[in-house]
């Protein structure tokens, strides 16, 4: 038999306890709000304004018309004309542009002659989903972009087939496999989740169980406590990296183009940065539930804004800035760069520096927050 009185007693107690835990209370409001903002405003699975470089060896009217049409479609943002293919190539490797459009010499003349010249578009296909919209538009453009210019005697060329042949060359991830993109990214996501949660519980658990009091009367320095709590998880993080890499290679057939050692080095930085974030949480959280909630609060934007689930280039400026502050964003670029593009030390230096900077800033915050007393 359910007794109303006893049930009420239980319900009232639970309410009082929830209300006392301010952080839990605000998280229950904060998390849906954050999701609304991120999903509603930041995320765009059909990114536009993808940076595009143009190598125009033709300097003719049709080439210019095509570029103008691409610009007008809003999918492409022509960041500039470059003189040589070599330079365009560099932009692509450095991740500064997603597309390079090569307009061959005599393009306009050959179009006018009805020879259907080839137009080469090179694309960075590490993230195939991010460019599917742009590619669709491009083939549509091929048919209609020149219609306006093909007037008078050339009007007959308007009819299909299109007046030139569009050749798409996928750099990296030629198979356009989404798995190739997701599996390396998953490594970062898994590490973020486990590393942050583990360390966020570390100090909180000591406090909740009352062992903090004993720990604090011993002559341990804060840095010793922090490093002591972080190091075991670095090892665990490496085990995870090894498992995921093995699975990526053996189960999903993801190539590892670059150096595994470089990848390990990048992973060390990333793991350390996440552990520092978790440790900082644990100096703030009052109990383990709060620590879990803070980890979740951190995890959400990490997944959504880092370019793991949704294309980074599709996000508005503010969301990109937020994303840059997250270690996962930089790690994804490192992992995908090394595994799919074969990036070397120089190529990942900037991203590694960004992770190191985050690590330092977060560690300083953690040290400032860590209390050597019970006050």
């Amino acid at each position: 038999m359910i007794s109303g009185g006893r049930l009420m007693a239980m319900i009232i107690k639970e309410f009082v306890q929830v209300r006392r835990d301010r952080l839990t209370f605000s998280m229950m409001v904060g998390i849906p709000l954050m999701q609304l903002v991120l999903f509603g405003f930041a995320i765009n699975s059909d990114p536009k304004h993808l940076p595009t470089a143009v190598v125009d060896a033709d300097h003719g009217p049709f080439g210019r018309a095509l570029v103008a049409a691409m610009q007008a479609s809003a999918y492409f943002a022509v960041t500039g004309e470059v003189d040589s293919e070599a330079e365009a190539d560099r932009l692509l490797v450095e991740d500064r542009v997603q597309f390079v459009v090569n307009i061959p010499p005599d393009f306009s003349r050959r179009v006018a002659r009805g020879e259907r010249p080839a137009l080469l578009v090179e694309a960075d296909a590490t993230d195939p989903a991010a460019m599917s919209g742009a590619l669709g538009t491009l083939s549509l453009l091929a048919e209609t972009a020149l219609d306006h210019d093909l007037g008078g005697p050339l009007a007959s060329l308007k009819a299909s087939p299109p007046p030139f042949e569009l050749r798409l060359h996928r750099r990296y991830n030629q198979e356009a496999s989404t798995q190739f993109n997701i599996v390396p990214g998953l490594m970062g996501v898994v590490l973020t989740m486990t590393m942050v949660i583990m360390t966020s519980l570390a100090v909180t658990r000591e406090r909740e169980r009352g062992t903090m009091e004993n720990l604090l009367v011993m002559p341990l320095r804060p840095i010793e406590v922090m490093l002591g709590k972080i190091v075991p998880y670095v090892v665990m993080g490496y085990v995870q990296v090894a498992v995921i890499l093995a699975a990526a290679r053996l189960v999903f057939g993801v190539p590892i183009v670059g150096s595994v050692w470089l990848l390990s080095l990048g992973s060390a930085l990333f793991i350390a940065a996440n552990l520092a974030v978790g440790f900082t949480f644990s100096t703030v959280a009052k109990n383990q539930l709060q620590a879990m909630q803070m980890s979740f609060f951190y995890f959400l934007p990490s997944i959504l804004l880092s370019g793991f689930m949704f294309p980074f280039r599709g996000m508005p400026r503010w969301a990109q800035l937020l994303g840059e502050a997250l270690p996962l964003t930089h790690y994804l670029r490192v992992v995908r760069g090394i595994m799919l593009k074969g990036d070397g030390v120089a190529d990942i230096a900037v991203e590694a520096a960004a992770m190191a900077a985050i690590l330092v800033v977060v560690s300083v915050i953690a040290m400032l927050r860590y209390r050597e007393t019970l006050d």
Partner: protein, 315 residues
């Protein structure tokens, strides 16, 4: 610094959320002595001990532990102080020996293994060394915690109710051990609620509502309370009735039944005698004047101080 004082603090004050919990406390504990730290629940004993070992920062006041400044040299104090917390604070998910090993390593003990196994022997826990600390009974946890805080051979021990929940035999062993350590020069400040333990201390300090009300050797603290007390023996069923009648009479500060006897006393002898006079001729009652106990002195002190406190801040 008074020569030979292991602890010497002046004007220690601490408040939590605007409520003064320890109020201008001054205390000196001579080296090699055992001082009992007594006071009602919530009087600020734990808070004081925490300030002494650097776990809490005093709002004001100053002082030294083992000649080191408690405000600036906490890190060095920690090496030489053993603090036993009121609540069990070793790792419940580590075994007994793992807990001791951890502490030994943190303090960088030479001959750690030998010291740990000695501690286990002394405790009689060698056979159960691999048992998880969390699985120990309450009393055994206390004994383990004590072993843990003397492992690094500190010069000063701060013990917060170390014998709460410990059986009489173990308590006696414990005190024998404490006296042994003190004889070797260790200073001990130990909080307790047991009167028999207080009487085993060289000195006692009594704190109530954050203020130090009495300190000194036991006999002196009792004498300074200036109490006159009587034991009245009556028929068992009459004791409660008599207690009711005497309670609240002018000059009667304490009334405590002990089986078929009633213990009454007061600070103002004249007034006490006047109030008791109507009952003294009752043939059913046997009167005997006796000397006040330490407990009488404390209860008397507590009664006086709560009066002061009620016009202070309330929680």
């Amino acid at each position: 610094m008074t020569p030979g004082a292991a602890i010497e603090v002046e004007g220690l004050t601490k408040s939590f959320a605007g409520r003064v919990v320890v109020d201008r406390l001054s205390l000196a504990v001579p080296s090699g002595r055992i001082m009992g730290f007594l006071g009602p629940n919530g009087s600020g004993k734990t808070t004081t001990l925490r300030m002494l070992c650097g776990l809490l920062t005093p709002d004001s006041g100053r002082g030294t532990c083992l000649g080191l400044d408690i405000l600036t040299e906490a890190q060095r104090i920690k090496r030489q102080v053993g603090y036993m917390t009121q609540r069990f604070s070793l790792y419940e998910d580590l075994s007994i020996v793992e807990n001791l090993d951890f502490i030994g390593r943190v303090f960088g003990l030479a001959e750690r293994r030998r010291k740990v196994s000695q501690a286990l022997d002394r405790l009689g826990l060698t056979a159960r060394r691999r048992q998880l600390a969390g699985e120990l009974s309450g009393g055994w946890k206390q004994r383990l915690a004590l072993a843990a805080c003397i492992l690094h051979e500190p010069r000063l021990l701060l013990l917060d109710e170390p014998t709460a929940g410990v059986d009489p035999k173990a308590r006696r062993d414990f005190w024998a051990q404490i006296h042994g350590l003190a004889a070797d020069g260790m200073t001990v400040l130990v909080s307790t609620h047991y009167m028999d333990e207080a009487e085993r201390c060289h000195l006692i300090a009594y704190i109530a509502y954050g203020r130090l009300l009495a300190k000194g050797p036991v006999a002196q603290v009792i004498a300074e309370a200036g109490l006159s007390t009587f034991t009245i023996t009556a028929a068992a069923d009459k004791v409660a009735e008599l207690a009711d009648r005497l309670t609240g009479l002018p000059g009667v500060d304490l009334v405590a039944p002990f089986g078929s006897a009633l213990h009454v006393g007061g600070g103002d002898r004249e007034q006490l005698l006047a109030s008791l006079a109507p009952y003294r001729d009752n043939p059913a009652l046997v009167w005997r004047e006796d000397s006040a106990t330490l407990e009488d002195a404390f209860i008397h002190l507590m009664g006086k101080s709560s009066d002061n406190f009620s016009n202070g801040p309330v929680s």
